[in-house]
Structures are given as C-alpha cells and as structure tokens.
Amino acid sequence: MSEPQATISSRRRLPVVWLVPIVALLLGIWMVIYTAMNEGPEIKIVFSTAEGIEAGKTKLKSLSVEVGLVEEVTLNDDLQSVTVLAKLDPKAETLLRDDTRFWVVRPRIGTGGVSGLGTLLSGGYIEVEPGDGKPSDKRKFKGLDDLPLTPVGTPGLGVILVSSQAGSLGAGDPVLYRGYEVGQVEEVRFDPENKEVRYRAFIEAPYDGLVDQATKFWNVSGISVTAGAEGVRVEVGTIQSLLAGGVSFDVPIGTRRLGPPKMDAEFVLYDSLASTEERTYRHSLDVVVQFEQSVRGLLPGAPVEYRGIRVGTVRRVMLDEIRDLRNSGKGEIGAPIPVLIAIDPARLRFPDSDEGVTLLRAQLENDVASGLRASLQSGNLITGALFVSFDYHFDEAPAKIGEFAGYPTLPTLTTGLDQLSRQLSRVLAKIEALPIDRTLSELNGSLRALRTMLATKDFENLPESLNATMAQATAALESFSSNSPLYTRLERAMDELNRTLQAVEALSDTLKKQPNALIFSTPPHPDPEPGGER
C-alpha cells in the first residue's frame, strides 16, 4: 500500500521578519503626514535687521504664549532688509490678519520705562499682535522695528500733530490734559518735502473724548518762559514733560466745540500755550502815522495800542517811500517819518471782514475829529523799544485824516520822553533866566554891611544902622513880592514845572499800569486777547 505523499510546495513563504521594515515605513510616513497636517501657516516678515533673531531658535509669541518659531532668516536682495520665515502653530492661524503687527522684543530703555528685560536671558522673541480685522490670508508682513507704544486695539484716539520744529518732543513723551497724563507721543517723522515735523500721538480712552476738532495742542516741553509787555510768564508741564517733553491740549475758552475729530486727524502743534491764544486776524486797516521825533526803537511787529489795549501791529517804517519821494523831488527836508501800521477791526469788536474795515475807517474819522492822536511810547527803557499808542488828547488842535502814499494818515503827537525832555529843558532855561546871581550878591552885600556894622564901635548907630539895614532888607524882599517881576517870572517857572510834573505823572501812571514797561519792552509777538464772547 502506498503511503500518501505529502505535497511539497516550494512556494517561498515570506518570512515574518519583513513586517519590520513595513512597519517602520508606515510609522515614518504616518509621522511625516501627521506633522505636515498639524503644521500651521508659514509667514514671511520683513524687518530692517535680524538682530536678536536666530533661525530655528527665536520664537514667536503673542501675549507671552508661544505661537510659532522662526525657521529661516535671509538677507533680501536689496541688502537693506531681511526676511524672516516663520512657522506658526495651527491654532495661531487666527492671529494672522491684515493689520497684524510683528516686532522683535528686546530689552529696551525708553522714556516710558524699561521693557523686555526677560529677553536678556531667554533671548529675544517676536511678538505677534493681531489686528482688529478678520483673520485674513495675508502671509507676507512688514515687521515693525520699534515696538509700538500703544498696542493695537487699545481704545482711544490717534492724532497727528504738525509742527515746523522738532523741538524737544519725542516718542514716548506724555500727552497731558490739564497736567494729567492721558496719552503719549508714538512716533516722530520729519517730512522734508513740506519741511514739517509730524508727530503721531495716541490718547487713550476714555480721555479721547476730551479732544474736539477745535482743540489746540501745544508743546509743554521743558519750561517755557515768555517775557513780554504783560510780564514774565513761566509755563511748566509735569515733571516728566519738564525733563523729557510733552504735549498738552485743551479747547480754548470760548471756542465753540465742533465735534469729535476723526482718527489720525491733523492738528497744528503750537510752540507754547501763548501761541494758541493768538488769534489770526485776516482783515486789517493799514494806516500811516507820521512822527516828527526819532523812530529809533520802533520795530516791525511792535504793537499798536489804545490805552494799553492791543489794536494792531506796526508793519514797517516806510523808508522806501521817503526815498522815492526824495528822488522824485517831492520830499521835504526834515519831513516827518511815515510809519505803516495795521489796525485789526476784530480787535475792536468789529467784524473780521472788509465790512469791518470800512466801519473802522469811518469810526476813525470820528475819533480823529474828537482828538484821537497817535504817539510813540517807550516800551522798554533799556532797549529803547517803542510802540505806537493811540489816545485822545482833547486840547490838541483839531486834525483830519490825511493821505500818504495811498494810505490814510492819522495825526500824531510828539509825546513821551521827547516831550518830557523838551519840557524839562524849557524849565531849566527858565530857571537859568532867574536873577539868582543878583539876588545872591545883594544878600551878600547886606550881610557884609551887617558885619561891618557889627564890627564898628558905633553901636549907638545900631538902631539907625539896623533900620537902614532893615530898610535895605525890606527893599530886597520887596523885589520878591508878588508884584515884582521876579516873582511873576518865578511863578511862571513853577507853572512850567507843574506841567512837567504832570507829564511825569502820566508816565508814572503808565508805569503803574505796566510796572515793567521800563524794563521790558513790548513783545514783538501778539498779545493775549482777553477772553470773552466775540
């Protein structure tokens, strides 16, 4: 009987060991896919320098939470900037918006304080600050070189301040409202085209409600000292602004509010509080005043006042016109010097318009007829600065508005020191004219006689001599009596002296009203206008 034969299959059986590489491959591929799937977005950020950024090491953080890693840092083709290639966590994709900001956090010392010290040990990182918008597809960003002082999204108002001077104001300086810090200056940029400096300041909520379209901003850096006809004025902001600089703002009193401004609205940055209070008048009446006295010390820009109230500005001394007149032969020798001044109708509560100018002109006609005269007054005895002052002088001869080189002329009066000195000299002349010598010699004689008389032994003759002397003395005294011509002359001299003293009184009045008029001349820039309704 044949035994069943086993069929021998020679099919090669794949050894189990082949599972190993298969598993290895599968594992590896799965890892790669898993990592790739879980990869977040890749972004490119352009910075101006890669300082503090290291490929493979520098992290991206948002609010101290790690959100990504820098993969690569390359120099751009323009050799002026670097591109940082970074990979974010997939969860951080929502951080990417159109206005997302990136900046490198490094240790910084600024006027706002010290920040980023932790990075000294841990190395810098890139802070990611998402913007306000919706998550976007934007993957190429421009990084900031300096950290923004105000995080995006902080409620508040940004304003642009424009100034012609850079001054002492810089990024980080505070924005003050009545001494209280409500914001800060973020950046300073110089616009060479318009030759102006533009500051961007940010005022935090809820203080941003204080800003109105009519708000004025002024520089309160350091100490502002103005010395003017009103006196010395010292303005200081906070201690920080004293040392670092600052901007203050407020709505000028009496200005009507116009409503909140738009974000990044532009405002003029004034140099000081005083400058903000200046009003610019657009209309003025140009008149000429001719002075017979020296105009030395009268500068363009000097104020024109009426009894201490600013009504206008001296434009210039019309030397050209004089020269023209002389050349044309019409000039007189020793003619008065014409000075062109501008009177602003608005300062006199006339409308600031052509109509106001006309009204002013008409008013002046009346005033001149009533005795309004212009005169030069001393603004500053030390520098000799002068200003033009109008006042009524009722005892002057009547005058009318004249004309010179096309401008109306207002009558003038020589007053002030000139007049004072003239009066004084007249008094002195009169005193000189007094027969004091003769009086003295007569007295001398009498005294001699008295002496000789006393010296003689003729004492019996004394009563007689005395009588005689008395008679002589009487005669001498008579010359001083009210009837004598000597007395009248003295009287007249006293009168002159009186009048001179009156003029001095007027001067002392002026001095009382402006105690430093003797020391400080009137300022060349406009005076503050007292507040009140227009």
């Binding site: 794949l14 050894p15 890892m31 990592t35």
Partner: protein
C-alpha cells in the same frame, strides 16, 4: 579550494587561534565554534537573507526619519531648547571642533549608513542566488567598517546625558530619538545575521556559477 586531509570539506582556520580545521557545514539556524578558543566560526541564521534585508531596510528608514524630527528637548526655568540629530554634529562644528564633528558624524551616521547600504548590496543578490560584481568589495566594506559603527554607544550616550540633566531640567526625548533607537536595534539585528563565514561562503557559491 583547499581540501583537508581527512575530509573533502573546505578548510578554515580559526581567526583567533589559527586552528586549522575543516569548515563545518551548518544548516539554517545552526552555528559552529572553534573547539579550542570557542570563537564563532560560522552561523547560518534562519531566514538569513530575509532577516538581513528586512532589518537593513528598516534601519535605513528609521535613520532617515530620525533626522526629520526633534531629537531631544530641554526645558529649564522657562527656557527651552530643542536639538535635532544633525545638531549634535553641527554644534560641534560651529564651536570650532570641525575634526571632532566629522568623527562623530562618521561614527553615528555615515559609517552605519554605508554599512547598511553595503549589506543590502550583498544580501539582495545573494538572496536571489545571483552574483554581482560588487559583492566582494561590498562585503569587504561591511566587515572592515563594522567595528567603527558606534550607534549603540550613541544611544547609551543619550541615556547618560538624560540622567545627567534630569536633576536640573525637564528632558523630553523626541520622536527622532525613538527612531534612532529603532535604527540601532535594526542595525544590530541585521548585522547579527550577517555572519562573515556564511556570507563569504555564499558569495563563493554564487560567484562560482
């Protein structure tokens, strides 16, 4: 082939004690040792070629993957640093120790990789009982380079570093490390089946055809 006096089997001499003896024939799964010094003469592993190839391929796969991911991460007081396998060489290079970097890269990456490729180059044709011009040089390469592959030493080095730093920092072994460890295991497994005598015998066999 040298024939011994007493048998028709080819002769072999023990590499360690030079005892001349006939080459034993070993079946699959068996091994033979020198009677005098116990040095392993020849071994014929089970599923020999398959094992060699499978493990060699796995080893290469694991080695490749071990470059792609972080190897080890250290966290201490808020600071963190991760390293990849390549960085263990690169950092040496960047620190001015270029020669050392080259040596290390040879011992832990290049030499093992070359060995594995050579192993495959030998075992693939042999598994099919076919000859190839590169069999001999590749086999020579494997045996010459073998002592210079220090993969397991590196793995122990990682463990030692881990223990050293455990006290002061949090150490996390990344995927790369496990991949490299697997690579080490597969390399050893592959080479352990790559018996010198048996391989040469097989080369002889296929070359004779």
């Amino acid at each position: 082939m040298l024939r011994g006096v007493a048998s028709d089997l080819p002769m072999t001499a023990c590499l360690e004690c030079d005892l001349l003896l006939p080459m034993p024939s070993v079946a699959e799964g068996e091994r033979a040792a020198c009677p005098r010094c116990k040095h392993l003469l020849i071994s014929h592993p089970k599923d020999g070629f398959s094992r060699i190839q499978a493990f060699a391929i796995s080893a290469l796969v694991f080695l490749a993957f071990s470059f792609a991911f972080p190897f080890m991460t250290m966290k201490a007081s808020g600071l963190e640093n991760a390293m990849t396998l390549g960085q263990s060489v690169l950092e040496l290079y960047e620190n001015g120790q270029q020669a050392l970097a080259f040596l290390v890269s040879c011992f832990i990456m290049l030499v093992p990789a070359v060995i594995l490729v050579a192993v495959l180059a030998v075992s693939v044709p042999l598994a099919r009982e076919r000859g190839a011009p590169w069999l001999v040089p590749a086999a020579r390469l494997v045996f010459t380079l073998s002592p210079w592959s220090m993969v397991e030493v590196f793995v122990i080095g990682v463990i030692v570093s881990l223990v050293k730093l455990m006290a002061m920092a949090d150490i996390i072994l990344g995927i790369s490390f496990w991949s490299y460890a697997a690579f080490s295991v597969c390399l050893t497994a592959s080479l352990s089946s790559f018996d010198k005598s048996w391989i040469w015998e097989s080369i002889d066999r296929v070359s004779a055809r």
